[in-house]
Symmetry: C2
Subunit: 321 residues, 2 copies
């Protein structure tokens, strides 16, 4: 299993669960149900350890609520790091729990550095570390996000380490935020910077294609920019595209079509707040409310799967493909 | 103290110690002295905790050896993250130790993300987190490095949080590695991408200038590219430039001149391996060797200070300015 190409592992889970949705684990503090906070403070006081316990409990229960319906969860490292070392321990525990539930863990760390430092990050999240012949996996991730600003010698250590361990890499190409245009949309010889990045990716990705026809090297392209998505899709036919921006950030199911290949695969669609805090908004607030927040999240991910399936018949959960 | 502009804190320490050197804490595993490893394995077995103990001990002793001679240390987060949560705990302890020795801690994390996620990272490294009114500092850093690929809405949360807490931010402009050219040197309207980034920085930096005339917002520009350094220097007169690449990466003292302002300030020069593992190379191997590795590091940082002072009379340790 370990040396199966990551794209093959991902493709097989997508087909099995008939879902290309990714649930983002972004444990924003304020909407986490009060009952979880009270119990953590009671046990640990008003401490960083209590903060860590809160986000760990919340993410663990969220995973339990959605794990039957999706192939991948995407913990956002910042929300854990902001509680210090205790938060990072919670991240580890959440990742381990996700794996135990049969999910792939795409850790959103957006790391990027050079040479031996990039290798350090690759060891941390895609490889292994070693002491006197004894090896261990520092964090139980199956894939990470990587920032390309430092060039290909910052990306290759991740790709090579991933290749040796059945892991995946998603490189930021065009991000979903408004000021992504400042660098990514600059035009160089009639081509945007993000397309230059996509072209580099394509070349590297082709060396790491699995039986599914997809590469362990993927891209990140925001669902809020459908036109960019279409260009990127054509440029990197063998890459999975991780598409953030669906739901809370404003992209709808119809905006997603350009990110898929004709085979109905090639995109995984992330939603964070709209799933994790579904209980707090329409249409779930009335039916579920805070007390049944897990059921609201489950209903929201089922609805999301159906919305996306309507765009990509391959994922249609009503037929038996 | 906390609300003093970071650039003022830095400038005052540079003047006091007559040094603009930064000691990089990049605890590469293999050259760490065997005695440290043996003792950690004896105490903790061949475990991630033992790995963490090794790098913690090494960095702590390194800090003790160099703290009288420099204003800043720069832990490289990847080398800690690669040992999992235990490694991150070691990072925290090392940072705390550096602070207790009167050093500024510039944490090299190269984070970059959008909106609330960028704010999460800013909280983690420059601000604070809170539980039920009780505030705490997640990691004891004084400044961090930030990646600009996602645009200014990924940088501003760091800058604003830094401003409120007397902290600093160093944005990657032109990195020291060979393939930094792939994106950073692309030419847009007769200007490189890295100069576009520098121009954006300049505008933001001007809103955060302290009494020293310098801004809490700085830049990273590799010492291996002196010509780029000169252009960047002129573009961002109020920014400190963190210059990596000195020593092991190939830049010499003479290459550094363009990174300084005429006032002899404005640059901080990082050296990692050439200081931390000075014992293993010329000219220190014979005199000190592994048993006296700390003394070798101290000798190396004193020599580095003198080399740089020859380029910037302001730092001349032989006069009494």
């Amino acid at each position: 299993m370990k040396t199966t190409n990551f794209a093959d592992r991902l493709t097989s889970l997508i087909k099995q669960r008939k879902s290309c949705a990714v649930v983002g684990l972004d444990p924003h503090w304020s909407p986490i149900p009060e009952s979880i906070k009270k119990s953590a403070i009671k046990q640990h006081g008003k401490t960083p350890v209590a903060c860590a316990a809160v986000i760990r409990t919340f993410c663990t229960e969220l995973i339990d609520a959605v794990c039957a319906h999706v192939p991948v969860v995407k913990p956002q490292s910042a929300f854990f790091e902001q509680f210090g070392p205790a938060g990072v321990e919670a991240l580890y525990a959440v990742m381990e729990h996700a794996r135990s539930k049969g999910l792939l863990v795409l850790l959103d760390v957006k790391r990027g550095d050079i040479g031996s430092t990039a290798q350090g990050y690759a060891n941390a999240y895609l490889g292994e570390s070693e002491i006197d012949g004894e090896k261990f996996e520092p964090f139980p991730a199956d894939a990470v996000t990587v920032n390309p600003y430092l060039g290909s010698d910052s990306v290759l250590p991740f790709v090579e380490t991933a290749a040796g361990h059945g892991k995946g890499v998603f490189v930021l190409v065009k991000t979903s935020n408004p000021s992504s245009a400042e660098i990514q949309d600059l035009v160089v010889e009639n081509e945007t910077v993000y397309m230059k990045v996509a072209q580099k990716l394509d070349a590297i990705a082709r060396d790491h294609i699995g039986e599914s026809g997809y590469s362990l090297l993927g891209a990140v392209a925001g669902g809020t920019f459908a036109q960019a998505g279409e260009k990127i899709r054509r440029c990197i036919p063998n890459c999975y595209i991780l598409v953030p921006g669906y739901g809370a950030q404003g992209a709808g199911a119809a905006d997603l079509k350009p990110f898929f290949n004709e085979d109905g695969l090639g995109a995984i669609i992330n939603s964070s707040r709209a799933i994790s805090f579904a209980y707090a908004g329409k249409p779930y607030a009335e039916k579920f409310g805070e007390a049944k927040w897990q059921a609201a999240s489950e209903a929201a991910i089922i609805a999301m799967n159906e919305e996306i399936a309507a765009q990509t018949p391959f994922l249609n959960r009503k037929t038996d493909r």
